[in-house]
């Protein structure tokens, strides 16, 4: 882990973000129907439109607009939402924890479930558990998150009212949030009823996102384990007389986890930008929903802000995953 490497990565990140923001900027200005027209009453005159355009700086040539925007962004100012009349950064920070909590929960579920099923699948090959695992793997890949979401809503919310299907917490609650993570906020207040409610509300949306990822984890774990099992050190572990459970869970898994974590990490990055539909279905007040609303109302500053933040998260996650890999792989860490 040397300085030169870190510097190169940071430079890489910055240029990527530049690229993303430029592309977004350009695409959005090509958009038909502009927010100005949407904001004004139908009787608005051409003059009104021009005035409002100037007010938002939309009359200047694109490169200059970009320059101004960039200057502000560097200072941390993402501008104000045209439609919602609120500071963009504020809006994003309000919704970000909701999406983060959802994605973290989904990733945790996928890891735990996937590693367990995948490993048991290898240990008890060709048994019922193995077949079920394979089935889940195939289904998880074929049924996208929003369809899982709809299935859960249908069976667990509509037909049988087992779990809540809307919002982050029971509507009777007004939660004073500190971190924005409901599970944390209720816990630190010892508000166990609130914690329970928040937990229940999290289950279905998290599982909807988790199942496709679980399928991926199962596949990766199985293929990694199959590779690792062929190695001599696994034979030696058996020679030592260790039970099959120890051989697989301690010796084999330790090595198979490395590529798994890498892939899951990358998927986490993808997931952050992909919560849109699940948030709509479960009325989850997160970034995805915000983004879609912004796009439909052509709220340029908001769209730019959200896209940039999501791209930033994606790039950061990739960096963390790479660092994690070097830490987890003793050959690199203790080279």
């Amino acid at each position: 882990m040397n300085l030169k490497y870190i510097f190169k990565r940071l430079l890489y990140m910055v240029t990527t973000l530049f690229g993303v923001s430029i592309i977004t900027f350009v695409i959005l200005r090509v958009i038909p129907g502009n927010p100005i027209v949407m904001m004004l009453p139908p009787q608005a005159t051409q003059q009104d439109i021009l005035e409002l355009k100037a007010q938002y700086g939309l009359d200047k040539p694109i490169p200059i607009q970009y320059g101004i925007w960039l200057k502000d962004v560097v200072r941390g100012d993402f501008g104000a939402s045209i439609h919602m009349k609120q500071d963009v950064m504020e809006l994003i920070m309000e919704r970000l924890p909701a999406t983060l909590e959802l994605v973290l929960a989904a990733t945790a579920i996928a890891l735990i479930l996937g590693i367990f099923i995948g490993t048991m699948s290898i240990m008890k090959k060709d048994t019922l558990l193995d077949k079920l695992g394979s089935l889940l793997a195939v289904l998880g890949l074929s049924i996208p998150d929003f369809l899982w979401g709809l299935l859960f809503v249908l069976f667990l919310g509509v037909f049988w009212h087992i779990l809540p299907i809307s919002g982050r917490i029971a509507s009777t609650y007004t939660l004073k949030t500190i971190t924005g993570f409901f599970l944390v906020d209720t816990l630190i207040r010892f508000d166990f009823k609130g914690l329970y409610s928040a937990f229940l509300h999290l289950i279905l949306p998290a599982f909807s996102l988790a199942l496709p990822l679980t399928a991926i984890v199962i596949r990766v774990i199985k293929s990694s384990l199959l590779e690792v099992i062929k190695e001599d050190y696994i034979l030696l572990a058996r020679v030592k007389g260790l039970s099959e459970r120890v051989v697989i869970f301690v010796h084999a898994l330790r090595n198979a986890l490395i590529p798994t974590i890498t892939i899951v990490g990358v998927q986490f990055g993808f997931l952050m930008g992909g919560t849109v539909l699940v948030e709509i279905i479960y009325s989850w007040p997160g970034l995805g929903k915000l983004a879609v609303t912004a796009i439909i109302t052509r709220d340029l500053p908001l769209i730019q802000g959200v896209v940039l933040v999501l791209a930033f998260i994606f790039v950061i996650v990739n960096l963390v995953v790479d660092l994690l890999y070097t830490i987890m792989n003793p050959k690199i860490r203790y080279g």
């Binding site: 240029t15 990527t16 973000l17 690229g19 993303v20 592309i23 977004t24 695409i27 959005l28 090509v30 958009i31 038909p32 195939v138 289904l139 890949l141 074929s142 049924i143 996208p144 929003f146 369809l147 709809l150 299935l151 809503v153 249908l154 509509v158 037909f159 062929k230 993808f270 952050m272 930008g273 992909g274 849109v276 539909l277 709509i280 279905i281 995805g288 983004a291 879609v292 796009i295 439909i296 052509r298 769209i303 959200v306 896209v307 999501l310 791209a311 994606f314 790039v315």
Partner: protein, 293 residues
């Protein structure tokens, strides 16, 4: 020469006996069939509204009738007919989207992998930046820019998913280009273009085939996602995703409006994925043989 024929025969036999290929292939053929034959086999006009017979359940439930086998939606339109016509949208999007995304992605991948160096750097950078865009949001933004319509949807899919082809194929190209026959071809002095087309490309075809089936499933899903947000085809065109989005509003009274198109999507994607899996097994039989030291 007889050996080659025998090998070809064995290959075909492997294809036809693989369960996944059979099932997935069947689904694909079914899809092709319905999309072509929809106008001839659909019992009703998919847009024909009948406000006297709205939200009728499927025929096996109480209140259902044989006139509308799978019931009607909130405007009295026949669900079955809409499903059949919806397969046309699905197929169009899957075939056109996949083909062009593949064309762009594979071409860039071949160039990137074969020439390496500056060209590879440039293309890879471009792909990296493109991938940093949350794909769902990107497709939504594109649709907002392009406007609604079937061809626009296909275009959005192409613009978002070409990177998948590019990345995966590029990796494979790197694998293949180190092989001896490439070096041999270069040594003989064959032109680069010829090497790429005649030596390199045929060797990535197996992986490409698998990727194509995968992508077709993804295209169908993306169309559904876009429909959900209201940014897909025009309202007058029946599409599965749209049916789901509309059906969701009546989930309590008429769940079938949403469920049947869901099942169509799931079956299609499942079939395509299994087909891809099966093809991978057949084309790379080394994976199935037990190794021995």
């Amino acid at each position: 020469m007889a050996d080659k024929k025998k090998e070809r025969f064995l290959q075909i036999k492997r294809f036809l006996t693989n369960g996944k290929v059979l099932f997935g292939g069947f689904i694909l053929l079914l899809l092709v069939f319905t999309s072509i034959m929809a106008p001839y086999i659909a019992p009703h006009d998919p847009n024909e509204q009948d406000l006297t017979a709205t939200k009728k359940p499927p025929f096996w439930m109480e209140g259902g009738e044989s006139e509308h086998l799978l019931g009607t939606d909130s405007l009295g339109r026949d669900v079955l007919s809409r499903l059949l016509y919806g397969s046309r949208v699905a197929m169009f999007v899957a075939v056109v989207g996949t083909f062009f995304a593949g064309l762009i992605g594979v071409t860039l991948a071949l160039l990137s992998g074969f020439y390496r160096g500056a060209i590879d750097n440039l293309i890879s950078r471009f792909v990296d930046i493109w991938i940093s865009f949350p794909p769902i949001l990107l497709s939504i933004v594109l649709m907002a820019v392009l406007g609604t319509g079937l061809t626009k949807v296909a275009l959005a899919i192409i613009l978002v998913d070409w990177t998948r082809f590019c990345r995966v194929i590029r990796g494979e190209v790197f694998n293949v280009r180190e092989k001896d026959f490439i070096l041999a071809a270069k040594a003989i002095g064959l032109g680069n273009l010829r090497i790429i087309l005649k030596e390199l490309f045929p060797n990535i075809v197996p992986l490409l085939t698998v990727l194509v089936t995968l992508e077709m499933g993804i295209a169908i899903i993306v169309e559904a996602i876009l429909s959900f947000v209201g940014l897909s085809v025009e309202a007058s065109v029946p599409a599965w995703g749209q049916m789901i989005a509309l059906g969701r509003l009546y989930i309590h009274q008429a769940w079938w409006i949403m469920v049947f198109p869901m099942m169509c999507i799931i079956t299609s994607v499942l079939g395509l994925n299994l087909l891809g899996d099966g093809l991978r097994e057949v084309l790379d039989p080394r994976l199935k043989v037990m190794g021995m030291k």
